[in-house]
Amino acid sequence: MRPIIKVENLGKRYRIGSRQPYHTLRESLMETITAPARWVRRAAMSSGRQAASKPQGEYVDALNEVSFEVQPGDVLGIIGRNGAGKSTLLKILSRITEPTTGQAELYGRVGSLLEVGTGFHPELTGRDNVYLSGAILGMRRAEIARKFDEIVAFAEVDRFIDTPVKHYSSGMYVRLAFGVAAHLEPEILLVDEVLAVGDAAFQKRCLGKMGDVARTGRTVIFVSHNMASIEALCSSCMIIKGGQLDAIGAPDEMVSRYMTSEIIRDQGTRDLRKHPGRSSISTPLMTSVALSSSEAGAVRIAAPLSVEATFAAPHPVRPILAVTIKSAHGAPIFGVSNRWTRQGFDGPALAEGKITCRFPRLPLMPGTYLLDLYFGDFADQTRDLDVIIDAVTLEVFPADVYGTGLLPRAMDGPVFSDAEWIVSSEGDAS
C-alpha cells in the first residue's frame, strides 16, 4: 500500500537567544540600511559557502532529520519527553510552522486538533462557538449545520446551548469544544494531547470517538503522554528523542521501550553532592538519591516506589530520612519519615550507607511531583543535618489500575486511593 504521509528528513531549527523572537524596529531599520553592503559582501563570497552568510547565533534543533511513512488508516502514536519535538512535528505537518529542512508529502486533507477549544470565545454562546470553532478547524458552514445536533448531543449541553460559554463549567466547556473537534472529518487527523481533559466518562467517549475515526479508515497521528491511551488507540507508535526519531513499531513495544529507556535515566540516580536545592545550613551528607519502581523502571499509578538515599558522613550516624512529596507547584501532599517509625533507632551507626524508603503502592495520581529530602541522625534528633528542597522530580504515569480501561481523573486531586464498593438493595445492607 502506498503511504498517505511521507516525511523525509524533516527538521526545524529555532534560533535562541536575546535577539529572538522580538526584533526592535531600530534593529530592522539598521539592517535595511546596511543591506546593500551585505549583498555586496555575500555576492563576493562563493555561492557554495551559503552557510557562512547566515546570521550568527545560537540554534536549537527542535526536530532533526526525521523520516517516516504512515499508511492509510494507520493510527500512529508519538511519544517522547517534553521538548523532544513531538509538538513541533505536529505543527509542521499541520502547516502552522514551516520546516527548516526536508519535506512532507500528504496524500489527503489534513485537520489538526492541537488544543481543545481553539477559537472559543467566552462571550459567545455555545451555539455561536460551535460555528466559530468549527470554521476555524476547517469545516464549512453547511457541514457544521448538518452536524450541529450531533455535536450538541455529544457534548450534553442542550439546555445551555444559547448561554455564553463563560458561564459554562469547565467540564461543559471541554465537552462542547471536543464535540466540535470530534466531528471534524479530514482524511488525516493530527491530534495533540487533547484527551488529557474532562472526566473519566467523557475521556472514554473521546477514546471511543477516536476509535471510530480510526475504523472509518482515516489516518490519525496522535501525540500523547498517556501511555494507556497510546496502547489502547494506536496501531503503531513512534518515539521521538532529542528531536530525532528514536524508534517506531508496535505500541506496546514502544511504550515499554520508552518507559525503560527514557524514564529510568530520568528517574534513576540523581547526584546530590552539588544540588542547588540544598539549604544553606546543611552539611552535605546525602550524595545521591535513586528512585525505582518494580515495573520496568517506570513509576505507574499504584505501583511500588523506592526512594534510596546514599550518604557519606564524617562521623558514623544512625540515619533518619524524611521524604516529603509535593505537587509540581510545590504544595506538600504527604510526608514520611523513619523518625516517627523508629526504624534504625537501635541500628548500627554507619559512616557510609544507604537508607531506603519504600512505598508498596504509591498513592499518587499521574502527574509530576517534587521530592524534598531531610536527612538526620538519631543521635541528634533536634535538627536535620542535610536538607534538600526539590531534590528530585518524580513522574507518575497512568496505568489501567482498575482493569477497565478507565483512568481515575487527575482533576480530583493528586492522591490515588484504593476503595471498595458495595452495592446492595436497601433492605439487606450489611
Binding site: M1, Q71, E115, R141, Q244
Partner: protein
Amino acid sequence: MDAQELPLSTSNIAESAAVGGSAVSPSPADAPALPENPVLVIKSGRRWMGLELGDLWRHRDLFFFLAWRDVKVRYKQTALGVTWAILQPLLTMVVFTFFFGRLAKVPSDGEPYAIFSYAGLLPWNFFSSAVTNSGNSLVGNASLITKVYFPRLVIPGAAVAAALVDFILASLILLLMMAWYGVSFTPALLMFPLLTLLITLIALGTGMWMSALNVKYRDIRYALPFVLQLWMFVTPIIYPLSFVPAGWRWLLRLNPLSGAIAGFRAAIFGHPFPWSDVAISLGIALAVLVYSAYAFRRMEMQFADII
C-alpha cells in the same frame, strides 16, 4: 549505540506498517483511494507562493465567522451597545462643527459644516478603526495562529470587514442628516458603495501590512494610533482640499484617503465628481495592496514562530 538505537532504516518502516496493519487498519476494500499526487507538500523555503486565492476562497466561511465574531463581541457587556458605532462620529462631528466650523470658520465647500465634516469623518472613522483592528488582529489572535492552519490573510481581512458594519450603521445617520439639512439625493450617491470599496481596499492594504509588521515589531501597537492621529490631519476631513494652497495639493493627493474622501463628499452633495483625485487614490490603494499582500505572504510562514 546499538543497532536498535540507529536512526530508522526503511526496513523498519515496512515492519511498523505490518504491525499497524494487523491491529486496526481497515481492510483494503474500505480504505480510501489515495490521489496520485500529494494534496499537500510541506517544505521549507517557500517564500513568494502567490496569493493562493483558491485557498482563501475555501476559507470564506471562516472569514465570515471571524468578522461576525468581532462584530458580535465588540459591544458585548456595554450599556450602549451598538449605539457606540453612531455616537463616536456623531459627537466628533458636534465638537468639530463648534470649533472648526463656528469658531475657526473653516470653509466647507459651501455646505453646512456639520454634514460636511460628518461626510469626511464617516469614511475616516471606518478607515481608522479598520486599520487599528486589523493591525492588532494577528497578535490578538495569536492562539489561533499557533494552533490551527488557515490562510493568515483571513484574520486582518475579517477585522476590516467587521469595521465595515459600524460604517454602515453610521451611514444611516448620514442619510438622516442629509434629509435634515435638505441635501438633495442625487444619482451621484450611487458612487457611495464604490467609494466604500475604495476605502476598504486602502484599509485592507494598510491593515494587512501593519498586522504582519506587528507580529515582528510590537512597536506598531504604539506607533499606529499616533500615526493615525497625524494621518487624520493630513487628510481633508475638517477642511476641504481647496483649503490647501494649490501648490501643495499634489502632496495631499499622495494620501489615498484624500481622493476617496473628496469622492465621498462629491457623491453626497452632488458636486462635480473628482475623477482624477479618485483615480489617483485607487492607483495608490492598489499599489499598497499588492505590496502588502507580498510583504504579508513573505512574513506569514514565520508568524507562528515569532508571535
